[in-house]
Symmetry: C2
Subunit: 223 residues, 2 copies
């Protein structure tokens, strides 16, 4: 059994809106509905667990009416790590073979990317979508460049991120980290990189939502 864990518990300090970005409208639908559609379409996904901010459970249940796979809607924690751990501990009794985390704020998720990440998690224990960085990357201080990084082997991590359930639960209980795959590396495991997709970008700042509004008309045509 494979469970999708939709990460929608962020309240978005960087987004500066009363409505968290994952629930803002993108065309005629909330942002979260776009990735849910991809989860519905994937034949590798059985059910979805949706992690939401406190007090958003009823609202989100209404938002996702009509989707078949979402089975549970739970409040998350204060950090991404806490939310992941709440999700994994909730699933302990259900004991899925694989779980796949996805940020609700990444609306444009191709089913083939989702499936590929799940398949690689079966092979390697943990896998994440990631794209090679083709811009120069720097550290900056006070809006001036401080130093240049080598671009060789540099990737931006996206979601989906899939794990053998036991590996994820064990790693997340032992190690805290910002990125969802880092606990696996910290606990001695390997994290496989699956070539990601520029379309699968994350809405973090208000500009990102504006950018998503550039993309979604063409995305909708793909249906």
């Amino acid at each position: 059994m494979t469970v999708g864990i939709i990460m929608a518990a962020g309240t978005g300090n960087r987004f500066k809106s009363e409505i968290p970005k994952q629930f803002c409208m993108l065309g005629d639908k909330p942002v979260i509905n776009y990735c849910l559609k991809s989860f519905e379409k994937s034949h590798l996904i059985d059910n979805c667990l949706i992690m939401v901010p406190t007090n958003w459970q009823e609202e989100v249940k209404k938002m996702i009416e009509g989707f078949r796979k979402p089975k549970w809607v739970l409040p998350g924690g204060a950090t991404r790590h806490e939310t992941s751990l709440i999700a994994l501990e909730f699933l302990r009794d259900i004991n899925p073979s694989v779980v796949v985390f996805h940020d609700a704020a990444r609306p444009f998720l191709r089913v083939k990317l989702l499936n590929r990440v799940i398949e690689e998690a079966h092979l390697f224990g943990a896998a994440t979508a990631a794209i090679p960085v083709n811009d120069t990357v720097v550290y900056a201080k006070d809006m001036f460049v401080n130093n240049y990084l080598s671009r060789e082997g540099l990737y931006r991590i996206q979601t989906p991120q899939a794990f053998a359930f036991e590996i994820a639960l064990n790693a997340f209980e032992r190690f805290h980290a910002n990125d969802g795959t880092e606990p696996v590396l910290l606990s001695g495991g390997k994290v496989r990189i699956v070539p990601g997709d520029l379309l699968c970008f994350k809405i973090t700042y208000p500009d990102d939502l504006q950018f998503a509004r550039f993309v979604y008309p063409t995305w909708n045509e793909l249906d």
Copy 2:
């Protein structure tokens, strides 16, 4: 006098196409035409110098018929650095106050971003568009994650990049580097970061062109 330098000399090893990416069609126009339109619209730009691959001069001159500002089309060098230096040395006699480099493979350039970068170069000597990285960034080896980077202060450098002409010529003659702003830092100067634009992404891989095809219909509507 401010001169725009359109960097279109790359032959695109990573793009794997006979036609360099900046000359591929995007809708009904070659990629390079999109950013040229933004240069035409900017009241801060006087003329443009277009750097192209060897043997592409005549072809490009045909492509850009109808644009007023492009004044020179020159063959570039084997690397980005060489091409930049050829451009700067060519402009030595013309002696512009400011030059602004832009990758032809970044088609979606807003005029306000272009202008802002030029204005900041007037204030600080050198300025570049850059966007904060909101994904986790890692170094990978053989498609497995190797280590996680701190995201604090991490930016992706884009173009446009503008310079006081003397600063650029001096820095590029003395120091070689991959990124167009790095010689300035190496020669002891400062590089100001201007908040960039997700739209201003670079076409490097074939997937990027596909992505651009998602964006351009909405971009065209902005006209």
